[in-house]
């Protein structure tokens, strides 16, 4: 009981509050720095591996080399464009339409200006609904598409995912943007 009373008397010291809070924050920050140093290379590796796999999936090249191309067009959803040797372009798009706001799609565009395949690089779409956009059977219908791509509900040819029309629209928009971006580069 006497301890508690003593503690209460000590507490009003403002310097003590500052010192304790600063010390705790400092130690936490140092710990986080250490963990970040350990995990950062691995996280970078994961992202690079994923991007490389996505590029290979949508537009395979023999040597696996994709040269980044500067994209100067107006479409702000186009994040990166890579030239895949003579095979065409690979475009990474973050569409304006998505259910969660974190959709990112890799689109392969052949030399003839048609879509060669798509791959979802990043998604926060609803598990079990929008996340089905990652399924190969669904993605297959984008192969060979050209011009403006849209879901059947909007007058296009793509069958939207069950219960995930918004995600499907986002992917369609991505493909349309990617095709336009690749066409502008020639």
């Amino acid at each position: 009981m006497s301890e508690i009373v003593m503690n209460k008397k000590k507490e009003p010291s403002l310097a003590m509050l500052v010192v304790v809070l600063t010390a705790i924050s400092l130690i936490t920050a140092l710990l986080l720095g250490a963990v970040n140093m350990i995990t950062a290379p691995q996280i970078k590796l994961n992202t690079e591996k994923k991007t490389a796999e996505a590029m290979q999936a949508v537009l395979p090249t023999e040597d696996g080399v994709y040269t980044p191309v500067e994209y100067t067009g107006e479409d702000s959803t186009v994040q990166a464009v890579y030239q895949a040797g003579d095979a065409g372009y690979v475009v990474q798009v973050k569409p304006a339409t998505s259910f969660s706001g974190t959709l990112s799609v890799m689109v392969g565009v052949g030399t003839d200006g048609t879509c060669t395949g798509i791959s979802i690089v990043e998604t926060g779409e609803t598990s079990g609904l929008g996340s089905n956009a990652g399924k190969p059977d669904w993605q297959a219908q984008f192969v060979g598409q050209s011009g403006k791509v849209s879901v059947t509900k909007d007058g296009g040819e793509i069958n939207a995912l069950t219960g995930a029309t918004i995600t499907s629209r986002g992917v369609c928009e991505s493909v349309t943007s990617a095709l336009a971006a690749a066409a502008s580069l020639g």
Binding site: N7, E11, M16, L17, V20, L21, I24, S25, T28, L31, L32, V35, N36, I38, T39, Q42, I43, N46, K50, S100, T102, E122, T123, G124, T126, S127, G128, L129, S131, T162, G163
Partner: protein, 215 residues
């Protein structure tokens, strides 16, 4: 220190979700596949246990005026560590839980246990409290995942079994999609809480009535 009581409290009598009604946001948001539920449950368990241990160790140093700020710094630190580790070594889980890992910082189970238990009890008891409360949370998540995945998607063990697709129990097209949408989360959680409260209050009511009669 009463291990058995702490275990029963965490799992049943003081279950974080169904009795204390804490951490309901993540409970409703991520319980769509078994993989998500187990992953989230274990993440919370680890963070809760670590935060409880540290806060219990520091309980005599932390001035009560800035205690909440101190707790949050400690919790946020552990959450970020777990987030980074998941991103590095379990990218698929990190992806499917997405924003909900960083949001554990504001999950009231952890702050609630820090305030109501770790700041008043010894290190060992606080560690046990973290483990048992975390287990209680995980069990409820798993129950909700199994119900919602079965009714909403017609599968069991999504994300883990059968190459990630889960074992199909109901043919495609029949399951009620709404159950894996947010509305299904509310419905399932309500049913789980109601069931839990029913069983918890059953014997108590009897004894209450007897007392009343005695009075």
């Amino acid at each position: 220190m009463n291990v058995k009581k702490q275990f029963l409290d965490g799992m049943i009598y003081q279950n974080p979700v169904t009795v204390q009604l804490l951490g309901m946001c993540s409970t409703m948001a991520i319980t769509t596949t078994l993989f998500n539920g187990i992953g989230m449950g274990i993440s919370v368990l680890v963070i809760l246990t670590c935060a409880n241990i540290v806060i219990s160790l520091l309980r005599k140093i932390i001035p009560s005026k800035v205690r909440i700020a101190c707790y949050i710094v400690v919790i946020a630190g552990f959450v970020t560590i777990v987030d980074l580790l998941l991103k590095a070594y379990l990218p698929s889980l990190s992806e499917s839980l997405g924003l909900f890992i960083p949001l554990i910082v504001v999950n009231c189970i952890i702050l609630g246990r820090a305030e109501s238990f770790a700041s008043k009890n010894g290190v060992a008891a606080s560690a046990l409290d973290g483990i048992f409360q975390g287990l209680g949370y995980t069990v409820i998540l798993v129950i909700m995942c199994v119900i919602r995945e079965f009714l909403g998607n017609g599968t069991f063990g999504g994300g883990i079994l059968n190459g990630g697709d889960g074992i199909r129990l109901i043919p495609e097209g029949i399951p009620a999609l709404g159950m894996i949408l947010p509305v299904g989360g509310f419905l399932t959680l309500a049913v789980v809480i109601a069931a839990m409260q029913y069983f918890l209050n059953k014997p108590k009511k009897g004894s209450d009535k007897k007392e009343e009669v005695a009075k």
